[in-house]
């Protein structure tokens, strides 16, 4: 009915959003670290179809901007030479998804660079940096969630299945982690890890730090599911046939926790993307020249950037559609599994 449709809708939207970021090489016109020292802080260019004389052009075009004489950030339009916009054009080489070599870009221009979302202090294309930065932020969020959920599932299953003092100990520890405000936990963890590392090392560090913060809630939820599942007939039967603990946990109990884990994933991923942004924004995460949504925003900590170059704020808005998608996905999943559970109970519940 409408519920699975809602679920499908948001899954599709999220897949498209992630796809755009994953294929950043194609959608971004330029390499994110390629500099153009002649054009620092160039404002976003406008695409025209009507030229200065009021003539209509089928092919959209833009006017190149050049620095006004004696200025370092004031640009003037060169209305004499319109540059046509090319769709599906050949440009700088990149590797799609990290392995497919390609030259094809969604759009570009010959002769001069186009800056749809402006440029940064080094004349790097802001749009390309946002798209490539998304890869870092999203990957950090997804990997962080994977780490957290594995940790949570493992701890939750151990606590729920074995019970006794192990359960008691693990759940007290979970309470501790739940009580800590997550930003503080993130900070505290980050504080006690090395400050200066290579970009890749920093990225992995961020993933690990983020991943270690959130395990408590999924662990508690998984434990609850395991507690009820392990008394179900099919589990008892399997145990009666001599199945080992590991086999039971893997084959019979883990699949039952899927609904909890999926819902938690939809809740955790956007939080973790935001966590990466926060860490990188504060200079504790992914360093330059690698871009991430967080460290793109870090320039806003300078007053003159805030005051004069508003387009440096645009990376912040990139996360909003992802937030919306994940939030809706989480509530759709909750609804979906909620009804599923009720149906299951009224259908063939043993009692």
């Amino acid at each position: 009915m409408t519920r699975p449709r809602k679920l499908t809708k948001w899954v599709v939207i999220l897949v498209v959003l992630h796809g755009i970021v994953a294929a950043a090489g194609f959608f971004a016109p330029y390499d994110p670290v390629q500099q153009d020292r002649e054009r620092p802080y160039l404002p976003p260019m406008r695409i025209h179809v009507m030229d200065a004389h009021g003539h209509f052009h089928v092919r959209p075009f833009f006017y190149p901007l050049r620095l006004r004489d004696g200025s370092f950030d004031q640009y003037e339009k060169d209305t004499a030479s319109a540059v046509p916009l090319h769709i599906f054009t050949s440009g700088g080489a990149y590797r799609l998804l990290g392995f497919l070599p390609s030259h094809l870009h969604l759009f570009g221009a010959a002769g001069t660079r186009i800056y749809l979302l402006g440029s940064d202090a080094y004349g790097r294309d802001q749009l390309s940096r946002i798209l490539y930065g998304g890869q870092v932020s999203l990957l950090a969020g997804l990997l962080g969630a994977a780490v957290t959920l594995s940790l949570g599932a493992l701890i939750g299953m151990a606590a729920g299945y074995y019970g006794g003092w192990r359960d008691e100990l693990l759940m007290r520890l979970a309470e501790l982690f739940l009580a800590l405000p997550w930003l503080y936990l993130l900070f505290a963890l980050r504080a006690f890890l090395p400050l200066t590392v290579s970009p890749l090392g920093a990225f992995l560090l961020v993933v690990v730090v983020i991943g270690m913060v959130g395990w408590a809630r999924p662990a508690r939820l998984v434990r609850g599911v395991v507690l009820s599942v392990k008394e179900r007939d099919f589990v008892r039967a399997a145990r009666g046939f001599g199945a080992s603990d590991i086999y039971l946990l893997r084959r019979h109990i883990l699949p039952e926790t899927a609904s909890v884990l999926l819902t938690q994933a939809a809740i955790l991923v956007p939080q973790f993307i935001l966590a990466e942004m926060t860490l990188s924004f504060l200079g504790l995460g992914v360093p330059e020249p690698m871009s991430s949504w967080g460290n793109l925003l870090a320039t806003l900590q300078q007053y003159n950037v805030l005051a004069s170059y508003w387009w440096m704020y645009l990376p912040a808005l990139a996360i909003v559609p992802f937030f919306l998608g994940y939030l809706r996905l989480a509530s759709a999943l909750q609804e979906h599994f909620g009804t599923y559970k009720i149906d299951e109970k009224s259908g063939w519940s043993p009692t």
Binding site: A179, P181, F187, F192, L195, T278, Q301, V320
Partner: protein, 324 residues
Amino acid sequence: MRYLLRRTLHAIFLLFGVSLLTFLFSALTPGNYFDEMRLNPQISPEAVAALHAQYQLDRPLPVRYAHWLNAVAHGELGFSFAYNSPVAPLLWVRARNTLLLTVTATLLAWLLALPLGIWSAAKFGRAADRVLSWTTATLLVVPDLVLALGLLILAVRTGWFPTGGLVSAGFDELSPVHKLRDLASHMTLPVLALVLAAMPMLVRHVRASVAEVLDTPFLRAARSHGLSNRKLLYGYALRAAANPLISLFGFSVGTLLSGSLLVEVIMSWPGLGPLLLEAILARDLYVVIGGVLLSMIFLVGGNLFADVLLYWADPRIRTAASPK
């Protein structure tokens, strides 16, 4: 009473756990505050070693923990390497600024959220409710980092509000009225960011729990007795819907010290946030631990406060907890 005692013991256990945990993390730290001095040829290795000894960084972890616990018992919370002073007074000044901000923001958020949520629940499903729900849903998908930076840009470009700090230069010369105005204008932006970040969630919770109660037989009966709408909503429905809201309020109180960390850093508000960030970057160990512990005390205290309020407000909890 037993219920409250148990909650208190639980809170104390939590605090102990956190302090132990932060200390354990700190033991894993590669390097410390004095590492940079080693690179300085003008400071001899002996001097660095002496500093280590002075701050007991050369002692084993349990000894350091015991020493620190002793300091906590004397109300000191350890010693800051960077500020060369005990941590407690350092934290206290900053915590006061943070509280000024967050208490105002929390009060405002709740004072706005309660009537809005109740009003929304009373108009459940109608146009007004839908508009409000849509607004809160929009605000919910804007993370506080994005929101705070956006407000900051707005302030810088329009010049309506000062963009950082607690007060203007020359604050001391102002008359009391102007002092208040100056402070208020500095507080506006961070408070606005905090309220906008916290309120949508609160409104949605209030709306959900009141709407649920409005559907119950006892309220329909009360309505058919001819009670006025206002009395129905504020006198009956709110009371019955209070439990989850009280827990939520306890949580709000609990995050008074930790919730504004990011906003403080972005808006350069001289609260705990910037101090903690500096301390992390400088590896000023005891300031970090002290800050985390202080905010934990608030968090645990807030939860405890909620438990007490629940105990006081809900007879079901009282009767379930006291006999036996």
